[in-house]
């Protein structure tokens, strides 16, 4: 544990949740992997953090870039490999504070889409192999970065804080792509919850498992920290009680009724009749 000022909320929460763990060596500075504890039993915690010295210049502010994507894959798969021969499947906690995927020529050229797929596949395979995967959103959880780091979790937990947000694209870029102004998009988001950026609107969509009130999201400690730890533990129990290692727990809320209806109708027509 260190008293240094952490470079991001993600880094701060990772440190607070793993007081007795050390960051594993051999990973890039932007991907922190710590073997800590959850409920007294071993668990792997992973966060993507800013790295001002990142070799890739467009991935220095906590974005998930090429190396970060593949390093996430490595962190998850090595955890799987270590546990494969035994009975226990350690929980994997993704501490999520990612501004976006990295945007740049190098990134496109070297196939960042493939790197993020590497991470997503690893998390999904871990979940399918029986590792409880929990996503804890403490800051930004944006588009490709979230798809790579957190969106394959069995359960998603978020802090109820104004700087916690989930979305598919930054406002300026989204405005440009949809040929509207940022103000127009913000106005639409007021009445169209899936278009909003704030975590409370996201919570209405029925994808989050829990939204946790916190007093000081930037400085994890005291009651906030206890609440988050208790929730992680509760998520663990909920996952272990679940009969399926898939994402179907995201389909229960009224807001996702249409998604459920599609699945019901597909099933009804799946086998040819007559």
């Amino acid at each position: 544990m260190t008293n240094r000022v952490e470079s991001s909320r993600g880094a701060a929460w990772l440190a607070a949740l793993t007081p007795r763990g050390d960051v594993l060596p051999g990973y890039p500075a932007a991907v922190r992997v710590v073997d800590g504890e959850l409920g007294g039993a071993p668990a792997r915690f992973i966060a993507v953090v800013p790295d001002a010295e990142n070799a890739f210049p467009r991935a220095r502010k906590g974005e998930v870039g090429l190396v970060e994507g593949w390093a996430l894959a490595r962190a998850v798969r090595e955890c799987m490999a270590a546990d494969a021969a035994g009975v226990i499947r350690r929980p994997i906690v993704a501490v999520i504070d990612v501004t976006s995927q990295a945007y740049g020529r190098r990134e496109e050229a070297y196939g960042i889409h493939q790197a993020l797929a590497g991470a997503a596949a690893a998390y999904a395979d871990a979940r399918l192999a029986g590792h409880p995967v929990i996503g804890l959103i403490v800051g930004k959880a944006m588009s490709g970065a979230l798809l790579a780091h957190g969106y394959q979790a069995n359960r998603l937990i978020a802090l109820d804080d104004p700087r916690v947000m989930v979305h598919a694209m930054g406002k300026a870029a989204a405005a440009r792509v949809t040929l509207r102004s940022v103000e127009q998009l913000e106005a639409l988001a007021e009445t169209i919850p899936p278009m909003a950026y704030d975590i409370r609107s996201f919570d209405t969509l029925g994808i989050l498992w829990r939204l946790l009130p916190v007093a000081q999201a930037d400085q994890p400690g005291g009651e906030d920290l206890e609440r988050v730890q208790a929730c992680l533990l509760a998520a663990l129990v909920d996952i272990r009680d679940d009969s399926t290692p898939d994402l179907s727990s995201r389909l229960g809320q009224p807001a996702r009724q249409l998604s459920s209806q599609v699945r019901t109708r597909l099933r009804a027509g799946w086998e040819a009749h007559g």
């Binding site: 190098r106 588009s143 597909l266």
Partner: protein, 283 residues
């Protein structure tokens, strides 16, 4: 190729999504699920002044390929850039989930996904993104049992969260017209500046993310002419090959080693990408 062959070569890219699905399935075997007449379309678009398409831009085509149970998921690139909304995304994810379930019951259903898509439909933002995560989950599940074949033929290409889906597939087929990349050129230019990425420079964009470049960079598994016969034959060949020993998305060691050899002080060059990945990724 002689003149007869040239004239009879049917273009895949000139076909709409429904027709593309039909030509990939065994003749006469196609049965569409939640088709346009079921009118399950987006509840989010009318209030934004966007006209809905009755099938929400995704065709779910059940049928057979070489006599074996299959489903083709065809995205209509002409509708809202093939973007993923709540309903279309659920059609793809739900169908893939049912295919995986079939396999667990002993029925070897396989899936082919036609990627003509810019990614998330921003008018449905977080619902589109969530659906894409569910598509990712379903591909990773199904590909344990059967190869999942992805095709991006153009003209829209494959971007955003769906490029990640394509990269999860067991085998990926592209043509010259296709592009495969995470971020749309406009978005990169918006975020990183025109010096980094000029969204109006088409030759530049294809040199970075076009089908031919991706082929020579070992990021796709087949690079074909825009031909129904060629693409259909390749789908069948990949299905016969079966699940690969290791999916490209699982090769983190090879990719990390390759990236370690990149001189990041220089801007990326297509020929260097080819060289680094050909050396690092060819088994």
């Amino acid at each position: 190729m002689n003149l007869d062959e040239l004239l009879s070569r049917e273009s895949f890219t000139e076909l709409g999504a429904r027709a593309r699905a039909r030509v990939l399935l065994d003749e006469g075997s196609m049965r569409e699920l939640i088709g346009p007449f079921d009118r399950l379309s987006s509840p989010w678009l009318a209030q934004q002044g966007v006209v809905t398409q009755a099938d929400d831009g995704v065709v779910v085509a059940r049928g057979r390929i070489d006599g074996q149970s299959a489903v083709v998921l065809a995205i209509e690139g002409a509708y809202q850039g093939g973007s993923m909304g709540e309903v279309g995304g659920a059609k793809i994810a739900g169908a893939l989930e049912l295919a995986a379930e079939d396999n667990r019951r002993g029925i070897p259903t396989r899936a082919v996904i036609l990627f003509e898509t810019g990614g998330v439909r921003l008018q449905e933002a977080n619902l589109g993104l969530a659906a894409i995560a569910e598509i990712h989950a379903a591909i990773v599940d199904l590909r344990r049992y059967q190869p999942v074949i992805g095709i991006s033929a153009g003209p829209v290409g494959c971007f955003g969260g769906m490029s990640i889906a394509a990269a999860l597939c067991s085998y990926l087929i592209v043509t010259r017209e296709a592009r495969l990349g995470l971020n749309g050129p406009q978005v990169i230019e918006q975020e990183a500046g025109i010096e980094e990425y000029d969204s109006r420079d088409r030759p530049f964009i294809w040199s970075m993310t076009g089908g031919e470049q991706r082929w020579h960079s070992c990021l796709v598994d087949a690079y074909l002419d825009d031909s129904v016969a060629a693409i259909s034959d390749q789908v069948r060949a990949f299905l016969l090959q079966g699940v690969p020993a290791q999916h490209r998305s699982d090769r983190y060691e090879a990719f990390l080693a390759s990236l370690a050899r990149v001189d990041t002080t220089q801007q990326a060059r297509p020929d260097v990408v080819r060289a680094i990945y050909q050396e690092g990724l060819q088994a």
